[in-house]
Amino acid sequence: MPEAPLTSKTSAPAPPKTPPATRSSVAMGRAAFMRLLWPLVALAAVLLWNLAFSPGFFHIEVRDGHLYGSLIDIANRAAPVMLTALGMTLVLATFGVDLSVGAVMAIAGAVAALVVEPRGGVAAILLALAASLAAGLWNGVLVAYLDIQPIVATLILMVAGRGIAQLLTNGQIITFHNPVLETLGGGFFLGLPFPITLVAGVYVVLGLTVRRTALGLFIEAVGDNASASRYAGVPAARVKLLAYVICGLCAGLAGLIVTSDIRAADANNAGMYLELDAILAAVIGGTSLSGGRFNLLGALLGGLLIQSLTTTILTKGIPVQFTLVVKALVIIAVCLLQSEPLRRRFARQKAVEKREEAAA
């Protein structure tokens, strides 16, 4: 049981002199682990299946000091989904949803591609992030301060955002050459593709942000019981605004990776349907659509699972369109696992069995 890395995220080890705190962080780890159990099992199953049926799937080779192989490839390709899923996780935890992440990715890509030639890579990245921050603010204000249903509020930018991106690029695919910007999607860091490093970095920064401040606690409190949070004085509006801003920034970064990867901004296709994958990844990772507890590591696992399914199907030579069918089945499976009536039925079954055992 990989308990240590899980606990280290959620709680720092308390001073050894206070045994209750130590006990508590172990318990916290166990709870987090239980929620990660299913995505882990699913991911392991997919990988094992590959181990058995796809020779060379686990082969990793070093070329020019860079790592290559199917596993690396999966993580690399999953980067945009994992990034958006990180932000989406926070938004879902507030009992919200952000449908606009795909459109925001397109906007970020378009801004970067437009700016990179005249102003250089760094300016392009910063401006793209500024644009996605603005998008997050927009969503956040609509939801948190104007009190508009999240699904409706973010629908606006989902519809208009892609149009804005197309407006920026004039409907063209804008190509560019810039070493800084190209590194983001195509470069390497410590032998690993740069997107993987980026995801890891964002995960660490975000993890620290939500767990080293009270943001994580407030997000969970607001999403789990808005009324009780109000009684306790939790600044709900600010918390929601921050969640949407973070989600926008994550989407912007994901857009930059995609743009950098293909060395072009394609406003028509960049981030298409990615909001759905991001929501799916977050839900697989144990964050509920009805808010409350969230799990950033789970979102990463969810993203990896989706991508490894896709890659597995590809490497087996099965037509790519089957991934959609598999995805559909995954969603239903995840849903049923979280279904209240089913749980109740199982609980009753168990109780009956126990009683029978006791009677016997």
Binding site: A160, G163, A328, I332
Partner: protein, 335 residues
Amino acid sequence: MTSPASPPPTTPRSSIQSRLLASQNVSLLATGFVCFLLYAAGGLAYQGFLSKNVFINLLTDNAFLGVAAVGMTFVILSGGIDLSVGSVIGCVSILIATMVKSGAPPALVIVGMLLLGALFGAAMGALIQYFELPPFLVTLAGMFLARGVGLVVSLESVPVDHPALTRLTGLNLLLPITAIIFLVLFAAGVYIAHYTPFGRNVYAVGGNAVSASLMGLPVARTVVGVYAFSGFCSALAGVVFTLYTLSGNASAGIGLELDAIAAVVIGGTLLSGGVGVVAGTFLGVLILGIIQTGITFQGTLSSWWTRIAIGMLLLIFILLQRFIQNRAAKSQGQG
């Protein structure tokens, strides 16, 4: 009116709900006004905008969107959402094209597809109702499944050249057949919403599911029925699309669910359920169509302005609804 005792206390009182309802009327009026304004503006700006042909094209070009939007209206009225409509259109169109090409009788294929669509919707509705799953995720799965199946059948577009179908599209009874299906389905939608117990139950369930069940209404049957109806409408939209393009394409209708939702919201239906009218959706579809047509007429404006314009309209309508609700709540607070 027989009133034996007490004085007639008919003076309506203001309350949040009545304000909401007023907002409903305001929304519908605003939608009608915007629709008229856009159409008039188009007529002023461009020669021939108001011609009969342009209007017929408006109906024909938006027929499959309109058909899908009718189903979406019911789903949203019931307090749910259906993301699968666009994919079902693609799936149905490719299935029709492939099956007809391989010699199956078109009439049978079409009827079969409509049934399949209804069944597909009913299955999603059952998952939503009986397993208490979020409609968003269930219909997302439906979206992936239908698109996947469609693409598995064929990645390429398949032409439809069966004489019966080409003759059907060639038919001109005042309007092309697709436009007729669109109008007939809308009429049917208005009828179902207004004149059948099912339609009224949809409003009741969307208005307050708990109350509806305490009133002894068949909530479960209504929810499953709503998704079945939406599945049927999506399949019919797929048929319309096939007739419109005389081809089957598994990639058809990508993102169409968004346009359908936008048409419904612009038409004044609240996404929280229980409030709205099917006729509003008709106006919403027309508005989307007029914007599209106007941008085509303009010539230099690019297609993405459509999306931006729709987004702006959505924003205006949502803010309008919000504003009226807030004002109602505030004046309620003051007594």
